[in-house]
């Protein structure tokens, strides 16, 4: 079995790649890139993706995958908007988003765990269902968030940093620790490492898988609410690449698609590398098409540096 092993030391390497990018851009455009304005924007742009990618990290460590996150996000945002429009309560809206996301996640989990259907198919199916469902609810027209959500939570800051970024950072931190230090995290690794061994070891594999997918769904639901607050619209057409973005972040961060290894810290770095690249190139004024080319190349190079440091394996 070829398994890429992730040691703490190796997260350091991919972090070093990120640091090099940050330094390079700062040197090239000190007055634009390395400003608190720009760095805060970076953080705030990455915040919502961070939630999705953190959930995805758990799922991928169990050797699963979740393609449905974008659809669930949109569905939850739509459901929340409907509830908020009906009741006027932002809190109820938040609850709706989170619970709707959780419900979709649990559905994924049940189908994967009990139905033994490949996660890719399950979540591709629920992606279609949730997106289609959101479109049915809205008639295909983007809904707008209530103004006091968009102008409230959407713009609010603590210590100069957007509240949304704080929320995402806090949740990510909690889940990073939970993965590394708790029984829940341990079982997540065990299942991805060898599901049969975990089962024989007495881990309730099915229940755990359902929880993990539920968690990913819940985070997608919350992301839907935060995205609603931030952008003020449900974005029914805007989230079709969320899944790939999140998966890419997870894999860049050193989590193996074959399960069993990975960290949330790695994922955080994996979220920031493409965001920083894109931002840096935009500030440098690189044309969009070139950006696509260069971001692609740097991505491969970044992971290569990491991989190469993990020791040149024999041929």
């Amino acid at each position: 079995m070829e398994r890429v092993r992730l040691r703490d030391r190796q997260v350091v390497w991919i972090a070093a790649v990120l640091a090099v990018l940050l330094v390079t851009f700062s040197v090239l455009r000190p007055g634009s890139f390395a400003t608190s304005f720009n760095l805060l924007n970076l953080v705030s742009d990455a915040a919502i993706l961070l939630l999705l990618a953190t959930g995805m990290t758990y799922v991928i460590i169990t050797a699963g995958i979740d393609l449905s996150v974008g659809g669930v996000l949109v569905f939850s945002a739509v459901a929340a908007t409907k509830i908020m429009d009906a009741t006027g309560s932002l809190l109820l809206g938040a609850a709706t988003a989170v619970l709707t996301g959780l419900a979709w996640g649990l559905l994924n989990g049940v189908l994967v765990a009990k139905g033994r259907i490949p996660a890719l198919i399950v979540t591709l199916g629920t992606l279609g269902m949730s997106l289609g469902g959101a479109l049915l609810l809205t008639g295909g027209v983007d809904l707008r968030a209530p103004g006091d959500l968009n102008l409230g939570l959407g713009l609010a800051r603590w210590l100069g940093v957007p509240q949304i970024a704080w929320i995402c950072a806090a949740i990510t931190a909690v889940l990073a620790v939970a993965l590394a230090r708790t029984r829940f995290g341990r079982h997540t690794y065990a299942i991805g490492s060898n599901a049969e061994a975990a089962r024989r070891g007495g881990v309730a594999v099915n229940r755990h898988l359902i929880r993990v997918y539920g968690l990913a769904g819940l985070l997608a639901g919350l992301a839907g609410y935060l995205s609603l607050a931030k952008y003020g619209i449900t974005g029914v057409s805007a989230h079709s690449t969320d899944n790939l973005q999140a998966i890419a972040a997870v894999v860049i961060g050193g989590t193996s698609l074959f399960g069993g290894v990975g960290t949330v810290v790695g994922t955080v770095i994996g979220v920031f590398i493409p965001v920083v690249l894109q931002n840096g190139f935009q500030i440098l004024g690189v044309r969009p098409f070139w950006q696509q080319v260069v971001v692609g190349a740097v991505l491969v190079a970044a992971v290569y540096v990491d991989q190469w440091q993990r020791g040149r394996r024999d041929q």
Binding site: S32, D45, V141, S227, Y231, G232, G235, S237, H239, Q282
Partner: protein
């Protein structure tokens, strides 16, 4: 924002609604030509999808790079207000091109094309082509893309209001995929062999639909109206794949946008609102000079 004149070279950034689409590329061409003429520096940026969540980070990056002015085709009337307000606070002049935002305080000048009107024009063109009767289908990209939704809205309203003889079959979504569009038309032909007309709201939809019609040998029986007038669409028109095109004026929008931006930066008066029109292009009028002028340019 203030009206202080700026020293040093004027730097303008155009933020497209969607990078790599003919409409916006033509707009960029027009803007570039004008920028060259006026001796200002122009950068072009754009998201890979027509999507506010992708455009917002770009706006933020552009703000960080401190241009004198931003030309932007906002991808949403609300979502872009916040980042553009930030830009305004940094004393960057903002000119809205093609699309707009809901906040009247944003955009020293708005040079807009009216997609609802464009859709209505498409309905008129299609009605004329099919003799005001028969079944008509719309093929679009994805629901929730506001500019395209507006075209559909205009189309539907016009059909319902003025063309009772046309039975409207509704919209199918191709997800901007040619083979998907082809599949849709194939199924539509299987379901309604007497289909009379198609409105394809963008190039990829028209391409896929055209291919399906061609394969089925129904090009002459089913008339199609396309949107935008890039070289590829014009070729389709010449080949008889589509019978009419709705042309907007992206190049002109770009050029005017740069003009207004430069004026704003220099503290000269700007025009608050410049509407642009859409034109129906057919095989018959294609070679007239007025129409040749509105066709989109192939790269620059």
């Amino acid at each position: 924002g203030g009206t202080t004149t700026q020293s040093g070279p004027i730097k303008v950034t155009l933020i497209q609604g969607l990078a790599g689409e003919e409409f916006y590329e033509t707009m960029a061409c027009g803007a570039k030509a004008k920028a060259k003429e006026l001796g200002v520096q122009l950068d072009v940026q754009g998201p890979q999808k027509f999507d506010p969540t992708l455009q917002t980070p770009i706006v933020n990056s552009v703000i960080a790079s401190k241009p004198s002015a931003i030309l932007i085709a906002p991808t949403d009337v609300k979502a872009l207000i916040a980042p553009l307000t930030q830009a305004k606070q940094q004393d960057i002049k903002i000119i809205l091109v093609d699309t707009v935002v809901d906040d009247p305080n944003i955009g020293l000048s708005r040079i807009s094309s009216d997609n609802v009107k464009g859709g209505a024009a498409a309905a008129k063109a299609l009605a004329e082509q099919i003799g005001d009767k028969g079944k008509a289908l719309v093929i679009s990209t994805d629901p929730g893309v506001s500019s395209v939704d507006a075209r559909i809205k205009g189309f539907e309203e016009e059909i319902k209001a003025n063309h009772p003889g046309i039975s409207y079959l509704g919209v199918q979504y191709s997800h901007n995929d040619v083979s998907e569009a082809s599949k849709i038309v194939n199924a539509a032909l299987a379901k309604d062999p007497d289909l009379a007309g198609i409105f394809a709201t963008n190039l990829n939809s028209a391409t896929g639909a055209g291919s399906a019609l061609q394969q089925a040998g129904k090009l002459d029986k089913v008339k199609m109206v396309g949107f935008d007038a890039g070289p590829a669409q014009v070729k389709q028109l010449q080949d008889g794949v589509v019978s009419a095109l709705i042309a907007q004026l992206p190049g002109e929008i770009g050029a005017k946008g740069v003009e207004q931006a430069v004026a704003a930066v220099k503290g000269q008066p700007v025009t608050a609102s410049i509407p642009t029109d859409s034109t129906i292009v057919t095989k018959q009028n294609l070679n007239t000079p007025e129409i040749q002028k509105v066709l989109y340019k192939a790269g620059c």
